[in-house]
C-alpha cells in the first residue's frame, strides 16, 4: 500500500463517478401545489430562472398555477409585476387566493415593448416575480429573459400559446396546461431531471 487516499476527499473533489447524479439543491420557491412540487426535480420553481407556461386557450388554470406563489410573495411584501396580461386581473378573485394587490403592478405595454418591460423588471432586482404575456418571442428574446432573471434573482413566468411547444426553448421549466377532460399540468422540460410521464392534476379554477 504505497499511498493511502481518504475516500471522502476523492468524493468531495468529484473525481469518482458514483453512477447517480448529485442531488440538486432544493428550491426555496414552492409552487404551492404539493403534487407539482413532488414532480419537479428541485421541489419547486427553478430559482432565478424562467418558467414557460403553454396554454391551449386562455382561462384554463394558468393563474391557479401561479397564484399561490404570488400570494406567498406579496404577503412577504415582495413585488410582483404583471406585464401586458390578456385580461384585467380581477382584484376580488386574486385577493380570494391571498394575493395582496398593493404589491402587484400591472404594466400595460404595446406588443413590441412587452419583452423590453419584462427584461427591465427582471433585471432591476427589486421584483420577486414577473409575469409576462409576449405576443411574439423568439429564442433569443427568451434567452435574454432567462439571463435577466438570473441577474435580478427573480422568477420569470412567460405565458405562451401551446403551438410554440414544438420550438426549442431556453426556459428552465416548461409546463403545458391541459383542460380536457380535467385541468392538468404536464411537465414538458425541467432542468436537472427527466420530465415525469404523468401529468399533475390541478384543482378547477372556480372551486
Amino acid at each position: 500500500m504505497g499511498q493511502l487516499v481518504a475516500l471522502n476527499t476523492l468524493i468531495d473533489t468529484r473525481q469518482v463517478w458514483q453512477g447517480r447524479a448529485a442531488p440538486l439543491p432544493g428550491s426555496n420557491e414552492s409552487t404551492g401545489w404539493p403534487a407539482l412540487d413532488v414532480a419537479l426535480p428541485t421541489g419547486g420553481w427553478p430559482e432565478h430562472a424562467m418558467t414557460e407556461i403553454l396554454l391551449p386557450v386562455d382561462g384554463v388554470g394558468e393563474l391557479q398555477l401561479v397564484l399561490p406563489t404570488l400570494a406567498r410573495m406579496t404577503q412577504a411584501a415582495r413585488q410582483v409585476m404583471v406585464i401586458s396580461p390578456p385580461y384585467l386581473p380581477c382584484v376580488a378573485g386574486w385577493e380570494a387566493r391571498g394575493v395582496v394587490m398593493s404589491h402587484v403592478d400591472i404594466v400595460q405595454a404595446a406588443a413590441r415593448d412587452v419583452l423590453w418591460a419584462a427584461e427591465q423588471c427582471l433585471r432591476s432586482g427589486s421584483c420577486a416575480a414577473v409575469l409576462a404575456w409576449p405576443q411574439q418571442a423568439d429564442d433569443r428574446a427568451l434567452r435574454r429573459l432567462q439571463v435577466a432573471a438570473d441577474t435580478g434573482k427573480a422568477l420569470a413566468f412567460v405565458f405562451r400559446d401551446v403551438r410554440h411547444a414544438v420550438q426549442a426553448s431556453p426556459a428552465s421549466l416548461r409546463l403545458e396546461l391541459e383542460s380536457q377532460p380535467a385541468p392538468r399540468v404536464r411537465i414538458r422540460k425541467c432542468r436537472g431531471g427527466n420530465p415525469p410521464a404523468q401529468a399533475v392534476p390541478l384543482a378547477a379554477g372556480w372551486s
Binding site: L63, C90, A92, E95, S126
Partner: protein, 470 residues
Amino acid sequence: MLWACVLLPQLALDGVLRRRPPSEEPLVLVSGPAQQRIVHAASRSARAAGLYRGQSLAAAQAMLHRFAMVDYDASDEAGWHRLLAAWAYRYSGEVGLLTHAVVLEVSRSLGLFGPWPRFESLLREDLAGLGFRHRIALAPTPQAAYVLAGAHDGMAVTTPPTLRSALAPVAVAHARLPDGAAHALSSMGIRTLGQLLAMPRAGLQRRFGADLVLQLDRLVGEQPSSMESFRPSDAFELRMEWAHEIEHVEALMFPLRRLTGDLSAYLAGRDGGVQRFEVVLEHRNMPATRVPVGMLAAARDAALLFDCARGRLERVALPQPVVAMQLLAPDLPPFVPAGRDLFDARLANAMPLDQLRERLRSRLGEHAVQRLHRTVDPRPERAQTSSPHVAKAPWPETRLRPAWLLESPLPLRGPPPEILAGPERIETGWWDGGDMRRDYYVVRTAQGQCAWAYCPPGKQGAWMLHGWFA
C-alpha cells in the same frame, strides 16, 4: 465657529465648460467693448498655448490659430454662484457668498459629516462631480478661510491662536484687503500679513481709514463678520445656452444630465424633492418646445430625474434645432425618502422600485403602470379601479369572483355551456343610470375553460362572457 471656504477660481469658465462635452479644444471667455475685446478667462489648453487673462483678443488670436470663443456673461456667473451656494446649503445652515467663493459655517456640521478630512473630501467629490474647479480651506473666521483658500489649497486651521501664524506668511497683495491699501502697504515695505498685523492699529487707522482696520479685525476674529446669510429660493430655474444649434435629441442628453444633476444637488441642499418639472427647448424663431416631466412621487435622485427626463425627451420630435435649454421646477414639495428595511431580502445593487416604475412609464406612457384595488361598487365593471382617488373597499369580498375579468363583456360563442354554479343575481345601479339586471353563472365551455358569464334574469341563454376562472 469654523468656516470652510470654497474658492472658485474659474467660476465663469467652468460654467461654460460644463455645458459642453469634455474636449481639449482651447476655449476663452471674452469681455469688454467691441473695439477692445479682452480675454476674460482661458481654459487649460488655451493657457498652455500662452493665452492669459487680460490679454487683448487680437494678441490672443495672433498667438493661437484656432480656439473657441464665448462671450462672458456676468448674470450667468452669478447664477452658477447661487447654485453652488444652494449646494453648500446642504452641508451647513449658514452659507455666505463672497466674490468667487462660497463660505459655510461647519463647526456644527462636523458631527454629521466629519471629521474635517472626510468632510473636505466629500465637498471635493461633489464639486468635481458638478464640474467646478475649486480650492478649499478651513479657518475660524470666514475672511481668514477666504484668504487661506487663495494662499494654500487644502489648508485647515482650527484654533484662533494658530490662525495668526498661518496668516503671517500670506502676501499682502493676496489678503483681499480694501482696494488701494494693498498697493500702498507694499510700497511702504509691508509685504506680508504678519508684518501688517504686528503694526499698531491706531496708526493704521489714521493712515488708511477704518475699513482696513475693520477688515483686519474680522480676519483674525476680533470683530464679528457681517455677512448676509444665503437662503435658497423656492423654485428652481436653470438655463443653458449654446453658441451652436443642436439638431438631434441625442446631443441634448449631455446638457440634460448636467441640468438634472444640478437640480438634484439643489434639492439635496434644500432637503426637498420635485414631482413635476419642465424642460423647455428654445428654438431660434419658433415658440419653445415644452416637455413636461411628471413622476409618481417626489424624488431627488440624479439618476432617476435624468432617466425620467430622458424618456420624455426621446419621444419629442424637434421642429427646429435647439439653441438653449431650460429646466423649470416651480413647485418643490417635501421629499420623504422611502424607508428600507435593514433586513431587506433584495439585492444590494437592486434598482429601487420607484426608479423602475418611472423608467417603464417614461417609455410605455404615463398610465402604463397601474395598481388595482376594489371599490365599494357592487357592479363588476366598477368593482375595481386603478384610480388612486377612489376609496378602497374596507371589507373583503365573499362572493365568488373569477381571476380574469374582461374589460367589457363579450357574447359567449359555441355550443351551450355546462352550468357549474349560479345564479348570482346582480340588480343594482339605479342611482347613476348604470342600471343592470343580470344573473351570473359559472359555466364550463366546450374547450374546458371555466367562465364567468351572465344572461338576462330568468333565462339561460344569450350568454355574455365576463371573466375566466383561470
